[in-house]
């Protein structure tokens, strides 16, 4: 009978929090029955038992956070107990600073632990080194875990002492190993950037009084958001295009649908649904934007997998409407409502918010007129949708009239999308949104 381990419920999941046990110790479970709720870095998910049997052991209490692969429960015969090995404790927040050198003392036990921590299974490193497969262009390559940073022991210790992040250093040793000199150089250049003219104060911690405030530990999701955005804004050459279009027909169409029947589904189709549909259809007409940059190639995707940014408590997720080009307006609207609802309640499956070939982010509901969103890598672009505003416009008869205007921005990865291509896409988007009937056929 098996020991159950913390499952890897998303590609980026490294640890999980046991939110709630749905079975008690000693209770019978059947394969497929919900055993527990587990919070990953992105969502809280129900976790089904892989086995028939009795839940004889629970190793991790509710609220406990453990790494993927650590045992959390044991399913066996009634009365049977799990193997009597030492129970792995819930992960503590270990300080990452390197240990002080210990000249003549030895601590074999801690040395072993350290070895385990710093040596991930071989295949992970191999996986990370291989460029994403290009054989299935309709799905984005899986995100691999960041490979272990190779650094010499003294480089690790120094990095801790000097407060240098090893992840930001390019090692000059064999296979990119970070050496002592690399850390010293990085530390020196960091200091040069921080304050070129001023000599470093003798006791900075005592001299600077931190402003009163509280320190909010990053949640798994916030960590991912931070990593993903840095991975986007730093290496991707962003450029920005903006359009301002006539949203009058859109407002009218929406009003008509609403008026057509309070009870019917069509009443619930929002302006944003039109924008989503238009963004998909425009990508079908200008397919070269539905693409991603990948080292030495540009991947053109067959399907338009539309990612939509949804704000949730403490962050955001981007649920994906798969093969959106095959879905009519009504279906896009329904799918979106379902995904958004579940996203807000952290009830999404990981595959529902991973991937996507481009993203639409709409801050119109928050009163934002225009903005420039950060690309969600490896996607080629992201649309930033503002609010519809009444503005004076000059009509065909050179008359100043009241118009409904909508501003849309497009942040592009210049390696994939050039200005002309982006403009072509926006032109198509404008044509569709200014003629919303086209979106309903």
């Amino acid at each position: 009978m098996p020991e159950l381990q913390m499952p890897k419920l998303s590609d980026t999941m490294t640890e999980g929090t046991l939110v709630a046990w749905k079975k008690k110790k000693g209770e019978k479970v059947a394969a497929g029955e919900v055993l527990a709720e587990i919070e990953t870095d992105k969502a809280t998910m129900e976790w089904e038992s892989p086995e028939d049997g009795t839940l004889t052991e629970i190793y991790v209490d509710e609220g406990g956070k453990v790494e993927v692969g650590q045992r959390i429960a044991f399913i066996g015969e009634p009365g049977e107990s799990g193997p009597a090995e030492k129970q792995p404790e819930a992960k503590k927040d270990e300080p990452k600073t390197a240990k002080q050198p210990q000249a003549e003392t030895e601590k074999p036990a801690s040395a072993e632990t350290k070895e385990k921590e710093t040596a991930p299974p071989q295949e992970k490193a191999v996986e990370a080194g291989v460029p994403p497969a290009r054989t299935q262009p309709t799905r984005l390559p899986p995100q691999t875990e960041e490979a272990r940073v190779k650094a010499s022991p003294v480089a690790r210790r120094l990095a801790g002492e000097l407060g240098v992040d090893l992840g930001t250093i390019q090692g000059t040793g064999p296979d990119g190993r970070i050496t002592e000199n690399d850390v010293r150089a990085a530390s020196k250049s960091a200091r040069a950037v921080d304050g070129p003219a001023q000599p470093p104060p003798r006791k900075p911690p005592a001299a600077i009084k931190p402003a009163p405030g509280s320190r909010i530990q990053l949640s798994g999701m916030r960590k991912i958001i931070a990593e993903r955005l840095v991975a986007s804004k730093a290496p991707i050459p962003h450029f920005y295009l903006n359009i301002d279009l006539d949203a009058g027909p859109l407002v009218a169409a929406r009003a008509e649908l609403k008026a057509a029947g309070e009870e019917s589904d069509t009443a619930k189709i929002s302006v944003n649904d039109f924008v989503l549909k238009a963004s998909v259809d425009a990508a079908v007409r200008v397919p070269r934007v539905n693409a991603a940059f990948d080292q030495d190639a540009i991947i053109l995707y067959e399907d338009v997998d539309l990612a939509v940014a949804v704000a949730i408590e403490d962050g955001l997720v981007t649920p994906v409407i798969r093969a959106a080009q095959k879905k009519p307006l009504r279906e896009i609207s329904e799918t979106m409502k379902d995904l958004a609802h579940r996203a807000r309640h952290k009830r999404m499956k990981p595959e529902e918010f991973q991937g996507g070939t481009f993203t639409v982010s709409n801050l119109g509901g928050y009163g934002i007129d225009n903005f420039s969103a950060v690309i969600n890598p490896p996607q080629g672009f992201i649309l930033s949708v503002g609010a519809i505003r009444k503005k004076p416009v000059i009509d065909d008869c050179d008359q100043i009239v009241v118009g409904n205007r909508l501003e849309i921005g497009m942040s592009c990865d210049h390696r994939v999308i050039d200005g002309a291509l982006g403009a072509e896409y926006l032109k198509e988007l404008r044509r569709l949104l200014e003629n919303p009937a086209l979106l309903m056929v």
Partner: protein, 331 residues
């Protein structure tokens, strides 16, 4: 003191040590092949027969097991024998006496018998002596509990360590080097009693980029290479172990904590060599000080060829050491 320092050879230094200890303690005697009438195969015992007479400077037949065993017996009854092997390659004939009898007697007799014996003679490869006469035995003997092993590289260390060895109440091996007998070095005047404790390494040259750990014949090699690399802006610290066992770990860790990079250059063979032990201890005890893997330069793992070019290829040499230093310095 420096103004009174004088320059003598390694051979002279050993001779002084022997004479001083023979003079100081009537229980001390020297025994071995050709040590008396011939003044020593390498002239280390020059003039000692004349000075101390045939009861204390004793020629033996070619029977290492015989006179080594005799030495152990003499030590058991309170004498302090100095047993010279014409070369430590011949000590293998007396392996049982050196490895079994001398170091175990104290514990197996329940502490009744100390064995204050000194085994000495040239050790390690010299020049074209062939496979059977070129053995570096330090790793074999250092492996044996109860034996102390030192391997001096300079006249000063040779004198100071040999005198200390004679005075030690346990078996000590003083591994000399044929190639160093004629080398010269500065030393205190004869009036000053020079005793260098076992288990004390010495920094022969200060440096900041890499520690080269060496002993005996590899010390001059390391110093030459250090000089050469200075021109390439690599600052080499040369740490002479002097004693293999006991090993001066404090000195090793101190130097490595400064340079973070280590090359061990040794005259013995790679497998289970002295460097293997030193390397293990460094990574075990001061792992966080290392900036890269520890490199070793030793003999190649083959019987020593007689052919001069092949011998050069098998021995540790400057090219190999320079390459190793550059590798650990990422240079």
């Amino acid at each position: 003191m420096t103004s009174e320092m004088r320059e003598i050879t390694y051979r002279q230094a050993l001779n002084e040590a022997l004479a001083e200890e023979l003079e100081r303690d009537p229980n001390v005697f020297l025994m071995g092949e050709e040590v008396a009438e011939y003044n020593g195969a390498y002239k280390v015992s020059q003039g000692l027969l004349e000075r101390f007479g045939p009861k204390r400077i004793i020629d033996t037949p070619i029977s290492e097991n015989g006179f080594a065993g005799l030495g152990v017996g003499a030590a058991m009854v309170g004498l302090r024998p100095i047993i010279e092997f014409m070369t430590f390659s011949f000590s293998f004939v007396a392996f049982d006496q050196v490895v079994n009898n001398a170091p175990n007697m104290f514990t197996m007799s329940g502490g009744q018998f100390n064995i204050p014996i000194t085994f000495r003679g040239p050790n390690g490869p010299a020049h074209q002596l062939g496979a059977t006469h070129s053995h570096a035995t330090e790793c074999l003997y250092a492996n044996v509990p109860g034996l102390k092993v030192c391997a001096p590289a300079t006249p000063r260390d040779a004198k100071g360590l040999l005198k200390t060895a004679v005075r030690d109440n346990n078996p000590v091996l003083v591994l000399e080097s044929e190639l160093l007998y004629s080398s010269k070095g500065m030393i205190e005047p004869a009036e000053i009693e020079l005793l260098i404790p076992l288990g004390q390494a010495e920094i022969k040259r200060e440096g900041s980029d890499v520690t080269v750990i060496c002993y005996a014949q590899t010390v001059p090699l390391a110093l030459t290479v250090a000089q050469q690399l200075e021109e390439e802006d690599i600052s080499v610290e040369v740490l002479d172990l002097r004693s293999i066992k006991p090993l001066d770990e404090r000195a090793i860790y101190g130097s490595v904590a400064k340079t973070h990079r280590v090359v061990i250059v040794e005259q013995d063979r790679p497998f289970c060599g002295v460097g293997a032990e030193v390397c293990y201890r460094i990574q075990k005890n001061i792992f966080d000080e290392l900036d890269g893997p520890i490199a070793r330069v030793s003999q190649e793992d083959v019987p020593m060829p007689y052919n001069e070019r092949l011998e050069h290829a098998v021995l540790p040499n400057a090219e190999k050491l320079i390459a190793a230093v550059k590798k650990v310095c990422y240079a």
